[in-house]
C-alpha cells in the first residue's frame, strides 16, 4: 500500500510491522518524529510494545540493551549528540553481540550546535563493530528496517545494525513509500529467538570480565563475523526482492558505472542529487557515473575495488572529515589501491547542513582538473575566515 510519508514516519511504519517488544528513545532533533509516531501507534493499540521514556540517550541505549539481552526485539533512534552520548553503550552492545537495530537521523556534531544534516555522527562510530548502512530515500529506509532485523538476528551474526538517514532531508522530506502487508513481513522476518538470553529457566552470566587471555579473541570474532556479513547482505537483499518484488539491500549501487570513465563516490541522500547530475553531465558528453556506497561497515572492499579499478578519475564526495587528516571515506577508498591506482580526489561538502547542489558538483569537477586533492572543502565562504578571531558585533 503506497502512502505519502516523511522519512521518520516511513521508519515508524516499518518498525511497527517488525513488532518490537520494547522501544526506548530520548528526543533529539531531527529524530523526534520517529518515536512520536511510534508512541502514537502504541497509544492507539496499533502496536503492542513497552514504550520507555528515558532521561537520556545513554539510558535509552541501555534500556534496549537490557531488553535485547532478555530476549525481546527492541528499537531505538537518535542523532548527533545523542549518538555520541550513547556511544559508550553502543560499543557495549556490539561487544555483547546483541542484535539491536538503531536508526540515526544524521546530524552535525557540536560545537557549534547545528541541527542540520551531515555524516560526522555516524562516521564517528565506524570502529564500534556495528553494521552501518546509509540510505538514499524514504523507501530505502523503510525497507532496510526489515532487512536489518533479519540480518542482525541471524544466529551466526548477532551484531547490531545502524541505519543512517539524512536528518531533515529524509526525516522531514515527504516521498511515496510502498508499505508491505503484515503477512509479507512475517514471511520475511521470523520472531526473535536468540542463542543466549537472560532466562530464569536457563541462567547464564553475560558481560564477564575478559582479561588479556580472551579479549583479543572477542574482537577477532567480531572481525570474522563482519567478513561473513559482506556475503550475507546481498543474500538477504535477494530474499527481500523475491518476497516484496523490489530491490533489496546490497553493498553498493552502481549507477551508470559500466561505461563511465569517471566515477563519483558518495553515501546517503546526496546520491539522489548526484544521479541527476550524472545524467546531466552525460548529456553534455562527460563520461560519468556514481558509485553509491550503501553498506559502510563492514567496508565492501572488493566490491568497491572492482567497480573503480579500471576508471580514470574518482571523485569521493563526503559529508564528514576526520579532522587532522582526510575524509574517512576518501582514506578508506584510497587504501584499496596500490599499484596503478586511478586518480582519486577527496572532497568534503555539506557539513552542518549546507546544501550540496549542482553548483557544488560542478565546482568539484573544476577543482579536480587543476590537480590532485585529498580533502578539499567545497563551498567554503572565505570571507568569514579573514580575521584571526571573529566576534560578531
Amino acid at each position: 500500500m503506497k502512502k505519502f510519508l516523511e522519512g521518520s514516519h516511513a521508519v515508524a511504519e516499518a518498525v511497527k510491522l517488525c513488532k518490537p517488544g520494547v522501544i526506548s528513545a530520548y528526543p533529539i532533533t531531527p529524530q523526534t518524529h520517529i518515536v512520536e509516531r511510534l508512541a502514537e501507534f502504541i497509544s492507539n493499540g496499533e502496536l503492542n510494545a513497552q514504550f520507555v521514556n528515558v532521561e537520556s540517550e545513554h539510558s535509552a541505549a541501555s534500556v534496549v540493551l537490557g531488553a535485547e539481552a532478555a530476549g525481546v526485539r527492541a528499537f531505538t533512534a537518535t542523532s548527533s549528540q545523542g549518538l555520541i552520548l550513547m556511544s559508550e553503550v553502543l560499543f557495549n552492545i556490539a561487544g555483547l553481540r546483541l542484535p539491536l537495530v538503531l536508526v540515526c537521523a544524521n546530524r552535525a556534531l557540536s560545537s557549534p550546535i547545528n541541527i542540520w544534516n551531515d555524516h560526522q555522527d555516524a562516521v564517528a562510530l565506524r570502529d564500534s563493530g556495528w553494521i552501518q548502512f546509509f540510505v538514499e530515500n524514504n523507501q530505502e529506509v523503510h525497507d532496510f528496517i526489515y532487512q536489518a532485523y533479519r540480518l542482525a538476528e541471524n544466529p551466526k551474526i548477532m551484531l547490531p545494525v545502524m541505519i543512517n538517514m539524512d536528518g531533515y532531508i529524509l526525516t522531514h522530506g515527504m516521498e511515496p513509500v510502498d508499505i508491505p502487508s503484515p503477512t509479507e513481513v512475517d514471511k520475511f522476518l521470523p520472531p526473535y529467538n536468540p542463542p543466549y538470553k537472560l532466562d530464569v529457566d536457563n541462567p547464564l552470566s553475560m558481560g564477564l570480565l575478559g582479561d588479556p587471555t580472551v579479549y583479543l579473541e572477542t574482537r577477532y570474532a567480531i572481525q570474522k563475523t563482519l567478513e561473513d556479513v559482506l556475503k550475507i547482505i546481498p543474500e538477504v537483499g535477494k530474499e527481500f526482492e523475491s518476497i516484496f518484488k523490489r530491490k533489496g539491500i546490497d553493498l553498493v549501487e552502481k549507477y551508470k558505472i559500466d561505461d563511465a570513465e569517471n566515477v563519483i563516490v558518495a553515501m546517503g541522500s546526496v546520491c539522489g542529487t548526484i544521479k541527476d547530475f550524472v545524467d546531466k553531465k552525460r548529456k553534455e558528453g562527460l563520461s560519468l557515473g556514481l558509485l553509491k556506497i550503501i553498506t559502510y561497515r563492514p567496508f565492501p572492499k572488493e566490491e568497491i575495488f572492482n567497480s573503480l579499478k579500471d576508471k580514470r578519475d574518482i571523485f569521493v564526495l563526503e559529508k564528514a572529515i576526520s579532522l587532522g587528516n582526510e575524509g574517512p571515506l576518501y582514506t578508506e577508498i584510497k587504501s584499496l589501491f596500490n599499484a596503478k591506482p586511478p586518480n582519486i580526489f577527496g572532497f568534503i561538502a555539506g557539513l552542518g547542513g549546507r546544501d550540496v547542489t549542482f553548483n557544488t558538483l560542478e565546482k568539484m569537477l573544476e577543482v579536480a582538473k587543476k590537480g590532485k586533492v585529498r580533502s578539499y572543502f567545497l563551498d567554503v565562504n572565505y570571507s568569514l575566515l579573514k580575521e584571526e578571531f571573529f566576534i560578531y558585533e
Binding site: 503492542n48 534500556v63 540493551l65 535485547e68 552470566s205 582479561d211
Partner: protein
C-alpha cells in the same frame, strides 16, 4: 556437588578479598530473593570478583553492562518481561556506592521516576574500591581515601555522605531503606519486604571493606555493627516518602567504631576532628530518633 553449591545462588570460588562485606551482602540478597531473579550488575568490585571469564559465581541470570547504567539496563529487562507477560520474576540492579550516588544517579532517578518494578541494591563500601579506594559521594565525613587523604592540611573527606536513601524516598517510591551486613537478619527482612512490593525499591547496604578501610578480615561484622550502633550509619525505612521505621540503638561512642580502621586513624590524634565526627553521629541520632534500648 557439595551442599554449599546447592544451597546458594551466589557460590564459592569468587575472588573477593578475605572477609569482604559485599560478598556477604550480595549472597544474602540473591538467596533471599530466590531463583526467579535477574540481576544487572554495574562495574565495580562485585562484578569483577564474581565474573572473571570463564567463571561466574552467579546461579541466576546475570548481566554486566557498564558503570552508570545498571538501573537503565534493569529497566529494559523489566520492560521486556512485561512485554512477554512474565510475572513473578524479580529484576534487580546492583551497584556500588559510586555506581549509585555519583555516576549512576541519573539512571537510578530515571528508573525510580518511571516506576519500574525493579529493586536497586547499593553495596555501600564508602569509596571507589575497585579502582583503588578513591573518594565517592558516599564516602563518610573525615574518612581518608586516596583522593581525600588525611595529611598535614586535609583531615580526610571534607563532605558528608550524600543522602541517597532520602533522594530515593523523595521520588515517593514504595520502599527505600538502609541495611547493614552487621545485621544480616534485618537485611534479609528488608529484602523480602522489598520483594513483596510491586514498583521501584531502593536498599542501601553498608558493606565494610577490610582492604579499603584497613582492618583485619575477622572484624567485618563487628565494624558493621558498630557503624550502626554509633549512629553513623542509621538503618531506616521510608515508604512513599515517609520515614516509617528506624533501627533503635543503644548508642556507642564513635571512637569505638573508628579505632580499628586505618582510614580513620588520623582522628585518634586529632581531638577536634574526632569531635566533629561525633557530632555527625549525634545529629543522625537526633534526626532519626535512633536512641533507645537495643532490640535483639
Amino acid at each position: 556437588m557439595s551442599d554449599h553449591f546447592k544451597d546458594h545462588l551466589f557460590v564459592s570460588g569468587h575472588t573477593a578479598c578475605s572477609g569482604c562485606g559485599q560478598a556477604i551482602a550480595a549472597r544474602l540478597v540473591v538467596d533471599s530473593l530466590g531463583k526467579d531473579t535477574i540481576v544487572c550488575n554495574a562495574t565495580g568490585c562485585l562484578e569483577v570478583f564474581s565474573t572473571k571469564c570463564p567463571q561466574s559465581s552467579w546461579c541466576i541470570p546475570w548481566i554486566h553492562s557498564l558503570f552508570e547504567n545498571a538501573a537503565a539496563v534493569a529497566s529494559g529487562i523489566e520492560a521486556a518481561l512485561k512485554y512477554l507477560g512474565k510475572k513473578n520474576i524479580k529484576v534487580c540492579a546492583f551497584a556500588g556506592d559510586g555506581g549509585t550516588s555519583d555516576i549512576g544517579l541519573q539512571a537510578l532517578s530515571g528508573m525510580l521516576e518511571r516506576g519500574h518494578d525493579v529493586l536497586f541494591c547499593c553495596f555501600d563500601n564508602e569509596a571507589y574500591m575497585n579502582t583503588g579506594i578513591q573518594r565517592s559521594g558516599l564516602t563518610p565525613y573525615e574518612a581518608s581515601t586516596t583522593t581525600s587523604p588525611a595529611g598535614k592540611i586535609w583531615q580526610g573527606n571534607w563532605r558528608p555522605k550524600k543522602p541517597v536513601v532520602e533522594i530515593c524516598a523523595a521520588h515517593f517510591i514504595p520502599y527505600a531503606a538502609s541495611a547493614s551486613v552487621g545485621f544480616p537478619q534485618d537485611l534479609q527482612r528488608k529484602i523480602k519486604k522489598a520483594a513483596s512490593i510491586s514498583g521501584p525499591k531502593y536498599i542501601q547496604i553498608h558493606c565494610p571493606c577490610p582492604l579499603g578501610w584497613g582492618f583485619d578480615s575477622s572484624l567485618t561484622l563487628e565494624i558493621a555493627k558498630n557503624a550502626v550502633l554509633s549512629g553513623l550509619y542509621p538503618l531506616v525505612e521510608y515508604e512513599y516518602g515517609k520515614l516509617t521505621k528506624v533501627f533503635k540503638i543503644s548508642k556507642k561512642p564513635v571512637i569505638e567504631y573508628i579505632k580499628p580502621q586505618r582510614r580513620f586513624r588520623h582522628l585518634l590524634k586529632d581531638e577536634k576532628a574526632l569531635k566533629k565526627l561525633q557530632e555527625v553521629a549525634d545529629k543522625n541520632i537526633e534526626y532519626y530518633g535512633l536512641e533507645k534500648e537495643v532490640e535483639k
